[in-house]
């Protein structure tokens, strides 16, 4: 290692997710067809590809089919194909399956694949390794256990990333350069690019997804069944719901997605998931079952209006969640992320042939991607999120009425009740507007603003859930849940920055006076944040070894006083199988 040359590649991919591997695969295929020569490196912060990947996941396989026409015979890790799809509203005791005719098309998931995304990513990694080994023109280096910590800029061009922590200057042994750097992360590092070029007019709306895998009793089989639910246990007006998927080998996925722009400062997603499991219907499913895994991750919900102005800058391209292509109306992000990688590969291939990685050459990526189903569906669903959010009546007063009628009699009475107790004309108008906005029609200006500044915390106690009898062994405390996320950290790990301890002390005082937990403590998915009492002062403390790296605390911190950085040395949770 005497020669201290630059570690240089043609294509550098930061983050080993589904979008990144779709890019890599398609680029290798294109290069093989055209005899193009190139080198590529993939960085991944997890110790193995897939170990930091957590997702629902029900997905349309349209991009997988494009990339791997023979995937069915190629031990593609499929958990099942959805044969029955439900959208249900949960009351305290009962559930009501909304008739499919009333649903937006995207919510009907029949024919979609149920996946374990970490396994899919690992499979794609192995396939890529095979492909690269058979092609002498292509060099691909994999760097699991190396995370990008800082973006290296040269003027206004992204030239690479540095893979060591700290600001001790450039470390030539750990700086990696690419003619084009592709960011396929969840915002850990791509936010630096977005901030540097001021790409986002509207901030991203993040929501947190938590998920558990259950091994069910042998007589229970929900294979191929997919439920998405609204209602119980989210009675506080938060935008969110649950997902329950039946997988092969009597396994069940139970998860919740809760938007972090909720007015409730104490969401506690992990406990909300436990609350969900207390519902009699879920209880019946998981009775005598066994919890296998737990995990969580944030997902970008902003959709069309949170997309950056440019999808590529000089020397860099944004993919998947870094871009924010998830479509919350259709609950689909994986296929869109893969498509973004697919389109990026075509652009990059042209750049490699022309040996020109300038901004103008890369900029065709945006046009291309928006021309595919990604652009089309994002555009159609552009008002979906705002339709719910601009009108707080929908989740706060209409939904509880429907829910109580589900418990008591029939949801139809709930609708009737809304008509009787609320202003009926207003209610009908709200319903029509909701329907129109969800379908992507223009019906006057949308009043909701995509900005966390507009969220006023609501400290009033939210409607309590009522549970009548549940098996205690099916409910896990947050401390216990960490065990099922299998976190493992290296010595000396410190990946969450607290900028000012005074700010934290002040914030804690404010929340103490209101008799509430601070958002970081309550919303943490893995028992990281805590209050320490030091010299009679209540201070903010962190148990970083519990962290599952979901970045919720950074997003919910009311003082913007926290920042979650990627860890080093492959530390973190092990989500393989989630």
């Amino acid at each position: 290692m005497s020669s201290k040359d630059k570690i240089q590649y043609d294509v550098l991919i930061v983050g080993g997710g589904s979008g990144s591997f779709a890019l890599a695969h398609h680029l290798v295929d294109l290069a093989a067809k055209n005899g193009t020569k190139f080198s590529m490196a993939i960085l991944e912060k997890g110790k193995e590809f897939g170990s930091h990947i957590v997702s629902g996941a029900v997905s349309n396989l349209r991009v997988i089919e494009k990339l791997f026409p023979d995937y069915k015979t190629n031990d593609f890790p499929l958990e099942g194909i959805c044969n029955e799809s439900f959208f249900s509203i949960l009351g305290n005791k009962k559930k009501w399956d909304v008739p499919n005719a009333l649903l937006p098309k995207g919510l009907i998931k029949n024919g979609c694949a149920i996946l374990t995304l970490s396994h899919v990513v690992y499979w794609m990694y192995n396939k890529l390794k095979e492909k690269a080994a058979n092609n002498p023109n292509i060099t691909i280096d994999f760097f699991p256990g190396f995370s990008a910590h800082t973006v290296i800029f040269e003027g206004d061009t992204v030239v690479g990333v540095q893979a060591t922590e700290g600001n001790s200057g450039l470390d030539v042994d750990n700086a990696i350069y690419g003619k084009v750097t592709c960011f396929g992360d969840k915002g850990f590092i791509s936010r630096d690019v977005i901030e540097h070029f001021k790409l986002r007019d509207n901030p991203q709306i993040w929501s947190i997804g938590v998920k558990e895998i259950w091994q069910l009793a042998p007589d229970k089989d929900y294979f191929g069944k997919v439920w998405h639910t609204l209602g119980f246990p989210l009675f506080d007006g938060s935008f969110g719901g649950s997902f329950i998927y039946g997988m092969k080998d009597n396994k069940l996925t139970i998860g919740m997605v809760i938007s972090l722009d909720s007015e409730n400062p104490n969401i506690n997603p992990q406990q909300k998931l436990q609350d969900l499991k207390k519902h009699p219907w879920v209880q019946e499913m998981i009775k005598d079952g066994k919890l296998l895994r737990y995990g969580g991750a944030v997902l970008p919900e902003g959709g069309f209006y949170s997309l950056p102005k440019k999808f590529s800058v000089a020397g860099a391209i944004l993919l998947g969640d870094a871009l924010g292509v998830l479509d919350i109306e259709r609950l689909s992000g994986i296929d869109k992320s893969m498509e973004s990688g697919y389109q990026a590969a075509e652009v990059i291939h042209e750049c490699i042939i022309a040996n020109d990685f300038s901004e103008s050459k890369l900029s065709s990526y945006k046009e291309k991607l928006m021309g595919t189903f990604v652009g089309k569906e994002l555009k159609e669903g552009r008002y979906f999120r705002m339709a719910w959010q601009e009108n707080p009546r929908l989740l706060k007063s209409y939904l509880p009425k429907i829910i109580s009628s589900i418990d008591k009699t029939n949801p139809l009475f709930g609708f009737l009740n809304i008509g009787l107790t609320e202003n009926p004309i207003k209610a009908i108008f709200d319903a029509i507007r909701l329907k129109y906005l969800m379908d992507g029609n223009e019906v006057g200006p949308v009043k909701y603003k995509l900005d966390y500044k507009h969220i006023v915390p609501n400290f009033k106690p939210s409607a309590e859930i009522k549970t009548n009898g549940y098996a205690k062994e099916t409910v896990y405390s947050r401390e216990d849940a960490v065990f099922y996320a299998k976190t493992k950290y290296h010595e000396g790990n410190k990946h969450i920055d607290e900028f000012s301890s005074d700010t934290c002390i002040k914030c804690i005082k404010t929340y103490d006076a209101l008799d509430k937990q601070t958002p970081c403590v309550s919303d943490c998915t893995a028992e990281v944040h805590r209050i320490d009492i030091l010299d009679n002062k209540r201070m903010h403390g962190m148990s970083l070894e519990n962290c599952i790296q979901c970045r919720t605390c950074e997003i919910v911190c009311p003082e913007i006083n926290l920042r979650v950085r990627p860890t080093a040395e492959g530390s973190g949770p092990d989500f393989m199988g989630l």
């Binding site: 760097f143 190396f146 042994d173």
Partner: protein, 311 residues
């Protein structure tokens, strides 16, 4: 394991300064003065062991099926590797990692290359099977001799599969070298190694001439994380067989001039009389969850029958 080893004098280091201090003093690690010593070659002896966290690879009779077992670098050798790399960084020289084992042991040599060693050597020979510490030390000292001049040899304290801590000292004896065992810190001054050893109740500082052998205690600095450059180099090597052979030299007993009669089962006086499999206790772990803390504690106390233990 019953062992009938010849009486080997274990510590030959010239003890000049012997101080016993409280364990409290351990935290104040003296900063090393850097004086460039003329160090050219550093050897580090590493071994591949079965991964303890994996259950696969244990035969029904309790012996280890090394072909099936998941493998890893002996955790104690990580400290030796760090010591060697630290020496290289501070005093210069080239580090050669040496290992003995089946061809699969190249995995740990690649790991060592990722971490920054300059070259590696693997002694691999079927006739070495079932070697005990005496035979292993004999074979390894022949490898060291065949590799030429050196200044320092670093060994791990012991392995996690044999737990004898004998091979390092035996090699030193065979080579006639001064040695320091259980070394937790060292510096090199005027061509001499000043090393701090862990002893019962504290530590002692010893000084010895070079060339010398040091077995590194696990209170030494943990191995630094590999660099991206190292990881890239190894991936390049794996793709390129001819280049790989430059970095990993594989030798047999004949190459190093070792007498096969002194190696393997023939050369091992150790007799494994019997292996008992400790039956798994199983089912004794109960996870309490989802209950208030007081209730969980009271349930644990009620179930544990603590008084029985006290008596």
């Amino acid at each position: 394991m019953i062992s009938s080893l010849p009486n080997i004098k274990l510590f030959k280091a010239i003890i000049t300064l012997k101080e016993r201090v409280n364990h409290k003093g351990k935290n104040t690690r003296n900063t090393l003065e850097i004086t460039m010593a003329n160090i050219e070659n550093i050897f580090v002896l590493i071994k591949q062991v079965p991964d303890q966290s994996a259950k696969a690879g244990i035969n029904p009779d309790g012996t280890i099926d090394r072909a099936k077992a998941k493998r890893m670098l002996n955790p104690f050798d990580r400290f030796a590797l760090q010591a060697a790399l630290h020496t290289k960084k501070t005093y210069g020289g080239k580090v050669t990692a040496i290992s003995m084992g089946p061809p699969a042991a190249t995995e740990i040599l690649l790991e060592a290359l990722e971490n920054g060693v300059d070259s590696t050597c693997l002694l691999s020979d079927k006739r070495l099977a079932a070697s005990d510490t005496l035979a292993t030390a004999y074979a390894l000292h022949k490898v060291v001799q065949s590799l030429g001049k050196f200044d320092l040899i670093f060994c791990g304290l012991q392995t996690t599969d044999g737990d004898t801590a004998q091979v390092g000292p035996q090699i030193a004896e065979r080579l006639g070298l001064p040695q320091t065992t259980y070394c937790e810190d060292f510096k090199i001054e005027n061509g001499k190694v000043i090393a701090r050893r862990v002893v019962e109740g504290g530590h002692e500082t010893v000084k010895m001439e070079m060339p010398a052998l040091i077995t590194v205690a696990n209170s030494y600095h943990p191995l630094e994380y590999k660099s991206l450059r190292g990881a890239r180099m190894v991936q390049n090597l794996v793709r390129n067989k001819t280049e790989l052979d430059k970095y990993i030299k594989t030798v047999t007993l004949d190459d190093v001039g070792a007498d096969p009669a002194k190696c393997g089962l023939k050369g091992s006086p150790t007799i494994v009389a019997r292996t008992d499999k400790v039956s798994e206790l199983g089912g004794s772990c109960i996870i309490k969850q989802g209950l208030p803390v007081e209730q969980m504690v009271s349930e644990v106390i009620a179930g544990a029958n603590i008084l029985e233990f006290v008596r």
